[in-house]
């Protein structure tokens, strides 16, 4: 996939009209991500229940189509997943974005995989990989309850 193919409908759609935007009232975890080189920013909000299942998730942020689409797609598919599942999906996604050609995971439906793989065009473009992974790293740190801001630089 070349970079222009990257800007396919899924990405443009999520990039221009990101889902799950805005802080909601009763979140109990949050984490920020920041890419100092390009200025992309994301702030994630989560509501975890007692079993560490994600009851609700949203984000605020600004950045390029890739980073916004990535946050939008991620929040969409993480809703309702528990911690173990979330971690597995994050790790599979990061593998794919950095080197693998596709995603193998029982936890994802085919159309979900498709959406994630639409971000795969950034492979080999370290600057854009950072855009695509910003919100994912923020999610990891929200779960680990890091205090400090995540940077992808």
């Amino acid at each position: 996939m070349n970079l222009k193919e990257l800007y396919q409908e899924i990405i443009l759609d999520h990039g221009k009209n990101p889902r799950n935007v805005g802080k909601f009232e009763n979140f109990n975890k949050d984490a920020k991500g920041h890419n100092p080189l390009c200025g992309d920013k994301v702030h994630l909000f989560l509501k975890l229940d007692e079993n560490k299942k994600i009851n609700d998730i949203s984000f605020e942020g600004e950045g390029c189509a890739i980073s916004m689409a990535s946050a939008s797609i991620m929040t969409d598919l993480m809703k309702g997943k528990n911690e173990t599942e979330v971690k597995e999906i994050i790790s599979k996604f990061l593998d794919m974005i950095k080197e693998k050609d596709d995603i193998k995971s029982e936890l994802l439906k085919d159309d979900e995989k498709m959406k994630l793989m639409s971000l795969g065009g950034v492979k080999n473009y370290p600057m854009r990989v950072k855009c695509a992974t910003l919100s994912w790293h923020a999610l990891t740190s929200a779960l680990e309850d890091f205090q400090k801001e995540v940077t992808t630089e």
Binding site: N2, L3, Y7, E9, D40, K41, G63, R128, C131
Partner: protein
Amino acid sequence: MNIDNIKKEFPIFDSKIQNNDLVYLDSANSSQKPLVVINRIYDFYTKEFSNVGRSVHYLSVAATNLYENTRSSVKTYINAKDKNEIVFTKGATEAINLVANTFGQKFLKKDDEVLLTELEHHSNYVPWHYLRKSKGIKIKFAEIDEHGDISLESVEKQITKKTKIIALTHLSNVTGAILPIKEIIELAHSKGIPVLVDGCQSAPHMKMDMQDLDCDFYAISCHKMYGPTGLGVLYAKKKWLEDLPPYQGGGGMISDVKKNDITYGELPNKFEAGTMATAQVIAFDESIKFLNRVGVDNLIEHENDLLQYGEEILRKNNSVKLIGNPKKKGAVLSFTIDGIHPHDIATILDEDGVAIRAGHHCCQILHDKLGLTASARASLGIYNTKDDLDKLNESINNCKKIFSR
């Protein structure tokens, strides 16, 4: 020399980049190199290499002579008074750090003020911030006007009795504004304040005359001036270089070394510690010869033509918003497009072979002021043509098409 043929001197344009002709509009970041410079590096390493200064054998003596020869060429090119006012550094960033560090050590104390502008590159802010942290100095910023310009008045307004040095850019790497540096220096000197000029963006595009400007310090990046990477120049008036303490310590910059004390060498050695970027300095002489061959007047005319043309077509292109509309402008076209993030613009342009830069261009203060997190920037070099700007415009249209699907 016919300026239209000048692209031929730059071998990078001979080959396709990802099946496209390269439209290189990122010269404010770093310029491409003419073949003469590249060949000089090659020849030096293959036939003449030795370290400078410290050995007495033939190769070393020859290298030292060549090295000092570049110092003389730079002196002449920027019309400094004395070749020992030219210090080689690893870049403009190091040049500014050198001044901030040594000037700060010797002349700044708590509550003293350093005056910058909102246009400054991080390189001309972070080193002063260190002094804010370590010494409790204050940093003030002369404010831009609605054109992205810095006026003499906006600088004057911020000067107080406590202002100890003014450090500002000659040509903004974002708005392209050319500052009234000579007037600012006159004003500053009338109040006894020295001035450091960040000449990174001006040096490749303007005529430089240190004696006419009368600045105290001038920082230059050779890699933006058709020279090799890893090299910069600090011009400083002799009295400053004599007065300031040395910066890095090491070989070549000492006079006498005892267990209990050390004395330092003469100018400019005092500021050139350790093995310098020998090959790069020697090759930079070819960059200066190249610039002289082109002629700075021709260069200015050519780039002004391009800039005007570029502004015209981008202004006609609705939805492109140019950043800054300063009185005098050089070599830079920064812009945004509504609804498309600069990074996405740059990525899509790249697919057409059009290389621009997106981001805050190391000018976060300015972008904050303008209410932006990032912008797209096309910047010019001697090798650019109107054709390049047409391609830029086409590719921008292409970009809009993709995003309006």
